[in-house]
Symmetry: C2
Subunit: 463 residues, 2 copies
């Protein structure tokens, strides 16, 4: 029996273009990629809900459950969801399922695997963009500006303290050479805004003064992180620091953030007027998304991060009369995309570096213990630099800066690609990132919550 | 200055995996693919809203505007959004923009183009799956079963009448050989459920008796289309008809639809119970989507269409107490994904076959005129086979079956790939499909609407 499923799928024109250049096997692959993406999404949502529900029941933040759910289906455990960067097509259980149920031929396995992974990775990137857009919408620009000086101090201390302690500690305690020590120190400076913001939202603390200081400092840390990464990358490449590059990045980040907010405030009344004129479905949501995607694109193009643009767009639109409507409509889109991001973060986390039976891991684990201490203490002290308000939860601010998440791993990856890092140092950085990322959500909940307010918050999160 | 943007994008682990196998150029490509997708989405949403708003103002269905907006940005006009099946990377204005603004190197252009197109195509396929899920949610299973016999007659007549008229007409009037004539006849049988359902929803007629007959008949036509396509494809390949294949397809389609609805009704109380136990955000939406994606996956795997599974899932969940909540939450997701589908359909439509200065087009246009007449009349008469209810809008039912959309083009593509079709016949089929697809939405609005109810409907659509 011939396989004709591809002929009638939604993917009609890629399966039979008007120019009829597509071959049958191309078309069949299109259907199989769709099947693979559907299966991946089912597994991702299942893992995210299973993990999230278990965590919310044992009073841990749901996002931690999504991360752990991701680990369980990812490269470290059941290998349902793996990616071409670390695995071959044969390692993917989804590809095996497609071979067994959908008749995926072996010779097409790797191209279907690559295409499916590309789509899932991109959906997860859209997820974090939507997350930051939502965070921006829920933030208060005036409050952010008000806490700006405090946030700036928190951000700078949170970068300088762990960087100096980590780098000097590695050099003097562990006899690490200077360049890898600087890399490890740099990895300690990062703050993962995604994880912290998600936990804050789950706790209903996003718009509290502490929440806004953490968000402001995390955004500044993102910018500082871009600059530091550029510095260490050029250090690893050329052995020297390119001052022009640093200046360019600092200026472009400042110009972008301030410029987009100023320009955005001028433009947003026009956008609202336009939306009010529109009569077709989805006008508020799509206009908001176009605005967010345009700023994300510009941020990407000028070598900043896409999520900075989405956050700025959210901040700007939060000041308009459409805030409420847009927030309501972005929630289901975020529910659809954001879990893909967190589950993918977990799925891509390779816990094999924690296995002490591998010799290089053992050395790495010792260095890691040091890095974890520096990572946690170096951020916790930042809270105590907060001035002017004695009632503020200083511990919570420091704890909110702990998770290194994706940004920390980028340092490890860039360092590793440059050849500057030893296996042990690289493993240590990764263990530090994993630990801070997974330990921060429960710690945050701990420092933010009185025991009696637990059930109330769960109800709030339940939406 | 080095380009370091890739180091800190959301695409962190594909840009620097834990195993650090990713090269810098891979990582940089990841960021550029994200930039390309963001730009594509901005252009798609812009085109869909511009077209939709203009159409709604001149009293045409917004979805027609989305299609035309797609044509304007697609291969036939400005080539902002083109796909690898019909164009090279250099033809894509988005790729040129990435080269000019984001520093995309020429040697990476084709792989970034391929990855970005893969993602957009898949988002458009998810779009039509979500659309059919939403249509299923808004449909009434009891009503569908009630109108089932009528819908079956409409579907069968709408398949048989244009097939026989078209095939015999081509053979006797145009001296077309039998196999291409059968292909063209087969292409005339299709009904594009996506376009009709969207227009019906826009007119607020989805749950009317006419609407439910059209939806029921279009679903049956989809199944008949799969069977017919299998028949003509094996005819073109082997010169004979594989009876076992036909029997398999008919039985699997029937078993799937009836089985999933029966099983689904048993399972749905468990699903609702599970959702009621869940405490984390997005529980209703994600559980619904998992259910829809599982049925879509099964439908794809057994060589049916994914959209049939999504439709069945919607029908089943529409009978639960969560219908309302799920409908509200699916709307923003649909607003996010569905325009991608319609704009891509337009963007992939190559209007160059309509150019009469090309000789083969001229012959094709004459055949096309004949096919268009058969296509419209062959479906319009189906409405007059409706029995039992003299008050029903028979013309509307026939008109609702007119658009051939994606399914008709699949026939042209498969026929073309098999080498059975002459250029003229292929062009004629494509022109017929384009015409019926673009003419059906305004005709549908015409036959469904009294002039005085126009503004009211616009308000309804505006939601």
């Amino acid at each position: 029996m011939i396989n004709i499923s591809y002929m009638l799928t939604g993917d009609w024109l890629s399966s039979s273009s008007l120019l009829a250049t597509a071959t049958e096997s191309n078309a069949e692959e299109g259907t199989l990629v769709l099947a693979g993406v559907l299966l991946s999404l089912v597994i991702i949502y299942f893992a995210s809900k299973l993990g999230g529900e278990i965590c919310s029941r044992i009073n841990l933040p749901p996002v931690l459950g999504e991360l752990v759910g991701g680990v369980l289906i990812g490269i470290s455990a059941f290998r349902l969801l793996v990616f071409p960067e670390s695995s071959a097509a044969e390692d993917s259980l989804i590809i095996s399922m497609l071979q067994n149920t959908a008749g995926l031929p072996t010779e097409a396995a790797s191209s279907v695997f690559a295409a499916q992974s590309e789509v899932i990775s991109l959906l997860s990137e859209l997820g974090v963009i939507i997350l930051l857009f939502e965070i921006g919408l829920e933030s208060d620009l005036k409050e952010l500006i008000r806490v700006g000086p405090i946030a700036a101090v928190v951000a700078v201390v949170g970068v300088v303290a762990p960087f100096i302690t980590g780098t000097l500690g590695l050099i003097y305690l562990f006899n690490t050479p200077a360049v890898p020590a600087i890399f490890a120190g740099a990895a300690l400076t990062a703050t993962s805004i995604g994880i912290t913001a998600k936990v804050l939202a789950e706790l209903g603390q996003l718009s509290s003064e502490e929440g806004q200081i953490i968000i402001g400092a995390a955004v500044l840390d993102d910018i500082l992180g871009i600059v530091i990464l550029a510095v260490v990358a050029s250090l690893a490449k050329t052995g020297e620091i390119e001052v022009s590059n640093i200046i360019y990045l600092v200026i472009s980040a400042a110009v972008f953030l301030i410029g987009s907010i100023l320009l955005g405030r001028l433009v947003s009344p026009l956008i609202v007027g336009l939306v009010n004129e529109m009569k077709t479905r989805g006008q508020v949501l799509l206009t908001g998304l176009v605005f967010a995607f345009v700023l994300s694109y510009i941020a990407t193009v000028i070598n900043l991060e896409g999520i900075l643009g989405a956050f700025a767009a959210g901040l700007i639109l939060a000041e308009t009369e459409k805030r409420k409507e847009l927030e309501e409509q972005i929630i289901p889109v975020a529910d659809f995309l954001v879990p893909i991001f967190f589950v993918c973060v977990g799925a891509k986390t390779d816990l094999s570096v924690l296995n002490p039976s591998v010799p290089s891991n053992r050395e790495g684990l010792i260095i890691a213990t040091f890095l974890i201490l520096v990572a946690i203490l170096g951020k916790v002290i930042t809270g105590f630099t907060v001035f002017g308000n004695p009632d503020i939860n200083k511990l919570a601010i420091g704890v909110g800066m702990i998770p290194r998440g994706e940004v920390g791993l980028v340092f490890a990856g860039v360092g590793s690609a440059s050849g500057a890092l030893s296996e042990a140092t690289e493993a240590a950085i990764i263990v530090m990132v994993i630990t801070t990322t997974f330990v921060a959500p429960p710690l945050l909940r701990l420092v933010f919550q009185e025991p009696e307010s637990v059930t109330q918050t769960v109800d709030k999160v339940q939406d």
